[in-house]
C-alpha cells in the first residue's frame, strides 16, 4: 500500500516535471515563438484530417517564424479565451484573424495589419432579409468579436445568439435556427462555396468595423512587435505574402 502511494506520487511529479517549464520573459523574440490560434475559422485557421492547424493565419505565422529564424510552436485556444490566455503567458503572439480595435488596444498591442476585412450579413437566398430591419430577427455571431460588439450596440431589437465557434453558427443557420449570421465577409465567402452554404447569400452593405487584422502581443513585448512588423513588411515586399494569399483567395486581401 505504501508502495502504491509512493508510486502514485512519483508518477504524478514526473508528469508535472515533464510538462511544466519556466519560460523566462526576455527582450526580443523568444525561441521557440509560441503562437496562439484557434482552429474553427476556415480558411484562416482550421484543422483537417491530419490533425494539424492549417490555413492563411498559420501560413503567415510559419513564414514569420522562418524569417525571424525561430521555431514556431502553435497552440490552439478557444476564441473567447484567446486574449486572457495571451495575458496569462500561455503563448507570445495571437495569429488568429484578430481585428485591430481600440478596445483591444487597451489590453494588448497589435502589429501592422496583415489583411483587411469587412463584416457582412449572410441570409437565405430570396428570404427577404433586410439588414435595415433587424428587430425581432435572430442573428448569430461569434462571441467576443467586433461583429458581436456591433450587434450589441446597433441591434437592440434583435435576438443575438453568441457562438463559441464561427462554424457552429453555420450549423444553426443551415438548420434555420437563425435568420442571418453577421461575420467577416471573407470567412462567409468561404462558407458560401460549401454545399451547406449553397442556399445562402450575402445581404446588404459591408461594414468596416476595425483597422484591419493584426497580430496581438502583450503590451510589454514591444521588441517582438517591431520584429514582427519588420518581417511582415519584408514578406509583403518580396512576394511571400502574395504567394500565401493566392493559396486561399484569387484576389488580394491585404
Amino acid at each position: 500500500m505504501k508502495g502504491l502511494i509512493a508510486f502514485l506520487m512519483a508518477a504524478f511529479i514526473a508528469g508535472l516535471l515533464s510538462n511544466a517549464r519556466v519560460a523566462y520573459a526576455e527582450p526580443g523574440v523568444p525561441n521557440p515563438l509560441r503562437i496562439g490560434s484557434e482552429g474553427y475559422y476556415p480558411p484562416f485557421n482550421f484543422v483537417d484530417q491530419s490533425g494539424q492547424l492549417k490555413g492563411f493565419d498559420i501560413d503567415i505565422a510559419m513564414a514569420l517564424c522562418e524569417r525571424l529564424k525561430v521555431e514556431c510552436k502553435l497552440l490552439a485556444q478557444d476564441w473567447d479565451g484567446i486574449i486572457p490566455a495571451l495575458l496569462a503567458g500561455k503563448y507570445d503572439a495571437i495569429v488568429a484573424s484578430m481585428s485591430i480595435t481600440d478596445e483591444r488596444k487597451k489590453v494588448v498591442s497589435f502589429t501592422d495589419k496583415y489583411y483587411s476585412n469587412k463584416v457582412r450579413f449572410v441570409a437565405a437566398k430570396g428570404g427577404g432579409f433586410d439588414p435595415g430591419k433587424l428587430d425581432g430577427k435572430t442573428i448569430g455571431t461569434q462571441r467576443a468579436t467586433i461583429a458581436a460588439n456591433w450587434l450589441a450596440k446597433n441591434a437592440g431589437g434583435a435576438k443575438v445568439k453568441l457562438y463559441d465557434k464561427q462554424t457552429d453558427a453555420y450549423l444553426d443557420l443551415a438548420a434555420r435556427r437563425l435568420d442571418a449570421i453577421f461575420a467577416d465577409g471573407l470567412v462567409l465567402h468561404e462558407w458560401l462555396k460549401t454545399k451547406a452554404g449553397a442556399g445562402f447569400e450575402m445581404v446588404g452593405d459591408a461594414y468596416e468595423l476595425d483597422e484591419g487584422i493584426g497580430i496581438a502581443v502583450r503590451k510589454e513585448d514591444n521588441v517582438l512587435r517591431q520584429r514582427l512588423n519588420a518581417a511582415l513588411a519584408a514578406m509583403l515586399a518580396d512576394g511571400t505574402y502574395a504567394t500565401i494569399n493566392a493559396r486561399y483567395f484569387p484576389f488580394s486581401i491585404y
Binding site: 500500500m1 505504501k2 508502495g3 502504491l4 502511494i5 502514485l8 506520487m9 508518477a11 504524478f12 508528469g15 508535472l16 510538462n19 511544466a20 517549464r21 519556466v22 519560460a23 523566462y24 520573459a25 482552429g39 474553427y40 476556415p42 482550421f46 484543422v47 483537417d48 484530417q49 490533425g51 497552440l75 490552439a76 485556444q77 478557444d78 479565451g81 486572457p84 490566455a85 496569462a88 503567458g89 500561455k90 465557434k165 462554424t167 457552429d168 453555420y170 450549423l171 443551415a174 460549401t194 451547406a196
Partner: protein, 228 residues
C-alpha cells in the same frame, strides 16, 4: 473511416485515457490527504479540508478547469516573483486539466475515504497501538488495506465520473476526444456523426473501466490478506 477523421479520434482517445489516469493518481493523493486532514486532531487542518471539499463540490467542473487554466499561471508567477524569479510559468492544457480534475476527484474521494476510515472498528486501531505500532504504521498496515476494500466501489464510481469530466478539458484546447470531435464537426459540418462517435468511445471506455473496477473489487474482497 469517419470521413478520414478516425485516426484523429483515436489519437484523442489516447489523450483522454492519459488525462484520466494522471488525474486519478493526483486525485487519489489529494483524496487521501483530504481525508486525513478531515480526521486530523488539528482544527485548522479540519477546517481547511472542509472548505476545500465544500468549495470544489459546489462549483461546476467546467469553471474549476477554466479557473485553474487561466489563474494558475498568474498565481504561480506571483509566488515565483516573491523569490525573485520573474517570467511566465506555463501550465499547458494537459497539466491544467490534470490539476483541475485531480482537485475535483480529490474532494469527492476525501469524503468516500473518510467514510471508509470511520467504518474500521476503533478496537483495531487501539489493538495496533497497544502492540507498539507507530501512528504511520497503524495507518499504512492496519487502516489502509481495509479502507481500500470499503472505499473501492465509491472510488470506482468517482473514476467513471472523472472519465466523463475529461471531456470538459476540451474548452482549454486539449486535443482529447471531445475537441477532436468538435474540430471534425467544424471541418465536415456533420455534428451528429462525430458527437455520436464520441459517445460510443466514451461508452466503450466506461464499459472497460467497469470491468476493471469489478476485478479490483473481487480481488480486494478475496480473503483478508495484508497488502502493502
Amino acid at each position: 473511416m469517419l470521413l478520414g477523421f478516425g485516426a484523429q479520434l483515436a489519437a484523442g482517445t489516447l489523450v483522454t485515457v492519459g488525462l484520466a489516469v494522471a488525474s486519478l493518481a493526483g486525485g487519489l493523493l489529494l483524496g487521501i490527504a483530504g481525508a486525513a486532514a478531515r480526521m486530523s486532531r488539528r482544527r485548522l487542518l479540519r477546517t481547511a479540508a472542509q472548505a476545500y471539499t465544500t468549495a470544489v463540490r459546489g462549483v461546476p467542473e467546467l469553471l474549476v478547469i477554466l479557473i485553474v487554466y487561466f489563474g494558475a499561471s498568474a498565481a504561480v508567477g506571483r509566488v515565483a516573483a516573491l523569490f525573485g524569479v520573474t517570467g511566465f510559468f506555463e501550465l499547458n492544457p494537459f497539466l491544467a486539466g490534470v490539476a483541475a480534475l485531480s482537485l475535483t476527484f480529490g474532494a469527492y474521494a476525501a469524503e468516500v475515504l473518510r467514510g471508509a476510515f470511520l467504518a474500521v472498528p476503533p478496537g483495531q486501531t487501539e489493538a495496533a497501538y497497544s502492540l507498539g505500532l507507530t501512528r504511520a504504521r497503524v495507518f499504512s498496515h492496519v487502516l489502509l488495506p481495509q479502507v481500500w476494500r470499503t472505499a473501492l466501489p465509491g472510488l470506482g464510481n468517482l473514476f467513471l465520473v472523472l472519465l466523463k469530466d475529461t471531456s470538459l478539458v476540451s474548452v482549454v484546447g486539449l486535443d482529447e476526444i471531445m475537441r477532436k470531435s468538435a474540430l471534425a464537426v467544424s471541418y465536415t459540418q456533420q455534428p451528429f456523426t462525430f458527437y455520436l462517435a464520441a459517445a460510443f468511445i466514451y461508452l466503450a471506455m466506461t464499459a472497460v473501466s467497469m470491468a476493471g473496477i469489478q476485478v479490483l473489487e473481487r480481488r480486494a474482497a478475496r480473503g483478508m490478506e495484508w497488502s502493502g
